[in-house]
Amino acid sequence: MTSEVLQTISSGSGFAQSSSTLDHDESLINPPLVKKKRNLPGNPDPEAEVIALSPKTLMATNRFLCEICGKGFQRDQNLQLHRRGHNLPWKLKQRTSKEVRKRVYVCPEKTCVHHHSSRALGDLTGIKKHFCRKHGEKKWKCEKCAKRYAVQSDWKAHSKTCGTREYRCDCGTIFSRRDSFITHRAFCDALAEETAKINAVSHLNGLAAAGAAGSVNLNYQYLMGTFIPPLQPFVPQPQTNQNHHHQHFQPPPPSSLSLWMGQDIAPPQPQPQDYDWVFGNAKAASACIDNNNTHDEHITQNANASLTTTTTLSVPSLFSNDQPQNANANSNVNMSATALLQKAAEIGVTSTTTAATNDQSTFLQSFPLKSSDQTTTYDGGEKFFALFGSNNNIGLMSHSHNHQEIENPRNDVTVESALDELQNYPWKRRRVDGGGGAGGGQTRDFLGVGVQTLCHPSSINGWI
């Protein structure tokens, strides 16, 4: 057993036979003919010349010295050119005529993974730097952070970028890279706290004006056939409104549309966004509870909101634009349907035009980006929907069960109490027809002019 153990046979992995203690020893080794691609880093050419230099040689900076003045040079070529200046005989070596073999270098450090020719590096500068970095003393130290470097160029490169860009999270952690900052921030509790705070603030603002939005919401709830009270802590912002009606819409599109259209008509599948848009804030707080429990759990933001008061959020302070109006108009907080209706009625009566304008602006602003998208791409569809929408508003009104009223902000329709609905019906219709640009056109202007001008996409993306 032991005698067999004593036998040492070089196995197939190609060990460097040369001793690394000799000065500038060139050893020609035939690395194993492993079937690898050539010349990729880490896979040296099997026919390359393997050179093992000693540490002294590698680290030496100026090996060639001028005999006259003692100046050192890294290459013989440079020394020769220098010797010209002393009027000494000089001779530049010509490149050898025979075909130049590719050279690869091994690290002299025995324990290093690059010590073996199968893992040699292809570049002399590379092996020098490697040796310095891995096995050399880290003499260069960054002043700002704790990093140390063995190679001066590394140190220089680092100190250029060190501390120039810093990202600070609210929790106090500092990041040098944006990626890590964003990833941290997404999960940091500081974010949750901040949004909870903002939530609370806008909650108070929102109570003041349930307004048209509230009634529209309720209206839509009616259309959906289920009366769902607005969520407690939910403070819809234009952005979040958008969120919510998306969320609501997506899970049960067939059911919602069918209800809306009298339950028999197949929904016009291709235009969910139009649908949202037509009803404006209608779905903002409606049907937030997922009705569709068939397959999977949908965790929507609203669902969260209903469970935990801190997760829904509206962050007007993060957005540099002015959104207070939106906050006021679109908030739909913690009020019963009847209370909202009453409030809406009050507001509607007193300031028709202003409310409408507000609504218009808020309405538009709540879907600024979306609607602009719609105008460009789904023009024909919008027309259809606008028609359909207003008609259906009216149509459904005739079927109303005395709950909510329908408000169409674009048409300057005021919000009125449910009891007045039937009475107002003809009046509203008139207004719809005579609404001219706003509603009468029923097509273009529905999308219309106002939409585009009020787009403020940059204001929405105001964070960082």
Binding site: M1, T8, S176, L191, Q247, D296, Q301
Partner: protein, 486 residues
């Protein structure tokens, strides 16, 4: 009998060592092996194991220190990677051929050389040794003497459960994951431009750590248009067998944080958890995706980040689950599928060749750990525990338990093409972003852009000192019908 192959440069010192062995009687040698002295306090064999007689015919003479005087530094004997590799391979061969005696000897040698506190080679070997012992102990009664030592192997319970913040930090310690994130997010962003709804199925080892930066890019990039609705679907598989890193909070909580974050960036988001298992090829996920209602102008994105290899391949089952899944994904007409995984081959049924390819890959995480994680830091412990788990899985486990069946990227690409996917290039911007990121890490990291002969599409491969670590690729269905044309 097997021979112990050693590099000639160590011949000198090894001869000395083995001469010592020769001088003593064979029984004496057995005793020494049985003692299994520990070189450090945290080595594989703890003192309690040493107090019992391991073999019937031996007695413990000196359980604590080796008797060879010149043995102080393990490095001087056989410290380099190749020597270690040879010893491990020989140990493996001995185990496979049920040669308990030889295995014992080599284990003893390895135990002296390897250490969980040493340099990267030693720590690597220590992990391997532990896994080998575990394998041997469960393999045959000849190795029953190792059963005590085998209890020290890595188990699921020992793995750290990360909080979200810890995990966020963890994935950025090296470019291992961030590389894939950047490449995939760039491809996804380009592919979903113009869609009003984006449904991402995130099959990621890192529990959605890729998503915040994706959300951020979506919010920043799409100035002229409204940001799309974002829907995120994740898989909840059986917690017991989930590979590391393990998440300490529930997916529900994770999802709500993400939705929260998305809203702050003005993106509407939904989050959904589907219960599915990789061991059956994610069949319940596919079922669910099939019955999802059609949404107009919605992009389906499938992001596979180091998870697809947990689906059994043909070496485990005859049913080609991986190819089947890819074909089923293709049938869902996704807008883009990103495939990021580790570039190595651990599928070989031959244990020795599997061990060899494992060794030639796993040295990378250990070496990179040396670069950025200080000794004894808890990050390093977690990191190395995770790697040890993987090593243990590939070495010590067999059958359905062995889940780490990595295949080479060429094989994955073959599967993708069979499933009628065409490769999509990443674009220059993505490449620059990756390279900028790599500059912030240790200098050994690099990226190469690999073009395959078959389809002339550039893919990214993360490299460490030139060796391939992780590949990133993006795919779209061949002749895919864009959703909005239907």
């Amino acid at each position: 009998m097997s021979r112990l192959f050693l590099p000639s440069c160590l011949q000198h010192s090894l001869i000395l060592f083995l001469c010592f062995l020769q001088k003593l009687s064979f029984a004496f040698i057995i005793i020494r092996i049985a003692c299994l002295p520990s070189s450090s306090s945290s080595s594989v064999f703890s003192h309690s194991h040493l107090q019992r007689p391991i073999m019937n015919t031996t007695q413990i003479i000196n359980p604590t220190r080796p008797i060879w005087p010149g043995f102080s530094s393990s490095k001087s004997l056989c410290g380099d990677a190749n020597c270690m590799e040879q010893l491990l391979l020989h140990c493996a061969k001995a185990i496979e051929s049920n040669d308990a005696t030889l295995a014992q000897q080599i284990i003893w040698v390895l135990n002296n050389l390897a250490s969980p506190d040493g340099d990267s080679t030693q720590r690597l070997a220590s992990s391997f040794l532990r896994a080998l012992i575990s394998r041997a102990a469960s393999k045959s009664p000849a190795f029953a003497f190792l059963s005590l030592a085998a209890t020290a192997s890595v188990s699921q319970k020992m793995l750290h459960r990360f909080s979200v913040i810890e995990l966020a930090e963890f994935v950025d310690l090296t470019p291992w994951h961030r590389f894939g994130f950047i490449a995939a997010n760039a491809a996804i962003l380009d592919a979903v431009e113009g869609y009003s709804s984006v449904h991402i199925v995130d099959l990621s080892l890192t529990h959605c750590m890729q998503i915040p930066t994706l959300i951020d890019s979506m919010a920043n990039k799409l100035h002229k248009q409204p940001p799309p609705l974002l829907k995120l679907t994740v898989i909840a598989s059986d917690a017991e067998s989930h590979p590391p890193p393990l998440l300490g909070i529930s997916y529900e909580e994770l999802g709500s944080k993400l939705v929260n974050f998305a809203t702050t960036r003005n993106i509407a988001m939904e989050f959904r958890i589907i219960s599915s298992s990789y061991s059956d090829g994610l069949s319940s996920l596919i079922e669910q995706l099939r019955i999802d209602p059609f949404v107009f102008n919605e992009a389906l994105v499938v992001n596979c980040h180091m998870m697809l290899h947990y689906i059994p391949d043909e070496t485990l089952t005859s049913n080609p689950l991986r190819s089947v899944l890819l074909k089923e994904l293709r049938d869902l007409n996704p807008t883009i599928v990103t495939l990021i995984d580790e570039d190595s081959d651990f599928t070989s049924t031959n244990f020795i060749s599997r061990l060899r390819s494992l060794y030639n890959y796993m040295w990378i995480p250990y070496e990179t750990a040396d670069m950025f994680l200080t000794r004894g830091s808890e990050h390093r412990q977690w990191y190395e525990a995770d790697i040890s788990w993987k090593i243990d899985n590939i070495v010590a486990k067999e059958g359905a338990e062995r889940v780490e069946r990595l295949e080479l990227k060429s094989r994955w690409f073959e599967r993708m093409r069979e499933a009628k996917f065409a490769g999509v290039g990443f674009g220059e911007r993505a490449g620059t972003e990756v390279k900028t990121m790599l500059e912030e890490h240790a200098t050994g990291w690099g990226m190469k852009e690999d073009v395959e002969d078959d389809d002339d599409v550039e893919r990214f491969v993360l490299t460490w000192k030139g060796h391939s670590v992780v590949f990133a690729s993006a795919w779209a269905p061949i002749n895919g019908v864009a959703a909005d044309l239907i």
